[in-house]
């Protein structure tokens, strides 16, 4: 169950996407997300699907692995879809009591779900192909100009990389504690809601204690190494754009242009509006 959470997980493989500079991937993800929200028609989603499919194929990450992330937002998707279908004003198809199922609602629900799914898949693909360290290095470098207006960019990046690093550790810890309490007869997945909430106490208390202990140890280890913030710090692996990255920028540019132009000129609509 806990293994389904792909957020912040890295999938080891050797692919052009993996080798790419993290900054390119961050910008790429941003551009991709922008295109998803540019227009509300099918053309743009077809282009995005094509782009996403190609990137997934090149990245060598198995599709089943990427789709696991969607499982966890399934409930959110269903709720969003249902609310949109029934609460969007427009031409009613069926109506009962206060609710009306409308064509506009169905279209809205469809677009929203596609956007959410594409959003999750696209961004989890970025974290799957980029190690947390690369990711925060990239972010720090991209946000670098903000230092001029006294934004603590390095500290923010550091906090992010620690947070990302701790996700798998705490998940593993949770798994371990759950198993240990199950070995003492605890049940986490049965009984009434109140029972389930009560069952969380034996899980959360040790988990919090362990999180604090780890935070303490890490702070101690950082201090023992004389860690101090960003000023004057050099990098072991400085970020550098290479041929592959410039190529990726070109592809991104073409994708953005294609999405913007084709989406505007040839809008395919789901329903005749």
């Amino acid at each position: 169950m806990l293994r389904d959470i792909t957020l912040g997980q890295y999938y080891q493989a050797d692919s052009p996407i993996h080798r790419m500079d993290a900054r390119v991937k961050l910008i790429g993800t941003l551009v991709y997300i922008i295109t998803l929200f540019l227009y509300k028609n099918l053309t743009i989603y077809l282009i995005a699907l094509l782009f996403l499919g190609a990137v997934v194929k090149i990245s060598k990450v198995p599709l089943s692995f990427i789709l696991r992330g969607i499982k966890t937002i399934m409930i959110l998707l269903v709720i969003t879809a249902v609310f949109n279908m029934f609460l969007t004003p427009g031409e009613p198809i069926v109506s009962f009591w206060k609710f009306k199922l409308t064509w506009e609602g169905i279209a809205n629900a469809f677009y929203l779900c596609i956007r959410l799914v594409f959003l999750i898949v696209g961004s989890s693909l970025m974290t799957l192909t980029t190690t947390p360290n690369q990711l925060t290095d990239g972010l720090e470098s991209l946000l670098g100009p903000l230092k001029k207006i006294k934004v603590p960019v390095h500290e923010i990046a550091m906090m992010m990389s620690i947070a990302l690093r701790f996700i798998p550790i705490l998940l593993e810890e949770t798994d371990k504690i759950m198993k240990a309490q199950m070995a003492r007869g605890a049940e986490f997945d049965s009984g009434s809601l109140i029972k389930k909430v009560k069952a969380l106490v034996p899980l959360l208390v040790p988990l919090f204690i362990s999180a604090f202990r780890r935070a303490n140890d890490l702070a101690m280890a950082m201090e023992a190494r004389c860690y101090q913030g960003g000023e004057g710090r050099t990098k072991m692996k400085p970020l550098k754009y290479r041929k592959l990255d410039f190529g990726a920028f070109v592809v991104l540019g073409v994708y953005l242009a294609a999405a913007a132009v084709l989406g505007k000129l040839f809008p395919l609509n789901l329903i005749p509006l």
Partner: protein, 283 residues
Amino acid sequence: MPIILNHVNCIYEAGTNMEVAALKDVNLVIPDGQFIGLIGHTGSGKSSLVQHLNGLMKPTGGEVYFDGQDIADEDYDKKKLRSDVGLVFQYPEHQLFEADVFSDVCFGPKNLGLSKKEIELRAYEALKMVGLEDEYFYQSPFDLSGGQKRRAAIAGVIAMKPRVLILDEPTAGLDPKGREEILNLIKKLHEEMGITIILVSHSMDDVADYVERIIVMNHGEVFLDDEPKAVFSHKEELEKIGLAVPTVTEIMSRCAGKGFPVDDTVTTIEEAKAELLKLYKKR
């Protein structure tokens, strides 16, 4: 009521490039009342193996039988199984959560749905069994010393009255004195309660003095399975997979190598002492 493992396989992350076979075709019979040492290097599959014994992990192939029943069956009573096969994890003190030691030990029996009286009786007995005095019963578990925490955590599992007790690296992170005390405690549990004990460790020194059978795991497979003396006679093979014979056995075998007429199959300090005295008297 033995535990039988029949061609048990366990594969993590099947179908991705992170695929790992934690267990490969494991066949074992664990009869009642045996004191077993389960030895293996980190990642040899020993932790996966013990989690199969109480149903926390399901085999991806093969079956595990307890009392002659397949524990993977849909209608098998998992709770009953977990009270019968008690598993104490590594660093069990990290799982303490109640406000006082006594309530924490009560957690297991409470989950079994026993009466309040029975729960408290069992908790009391378990705490006495692990040698924790009354004065600690109502202290916060977080105020105890390392060794005491470990005892309290072990009591939490014993209170469920298991017929098989598995301890995963029970001496990890303890000082030599604490280690000695815990190992003696486990021996006492075996003798007084007459239960099956499986002691998981990566150190032969931990188990040599106590167990009657050693199972050596390597890369998810059972590498050796025999009584201690027979296992230690495979010195070279053990060293090849990153394990060592107990320190006393090593010393005696080196003595034998230097030409002293001593038995190099001894496994305990007592036996080694007897051997050396014999040699001394002969001179």
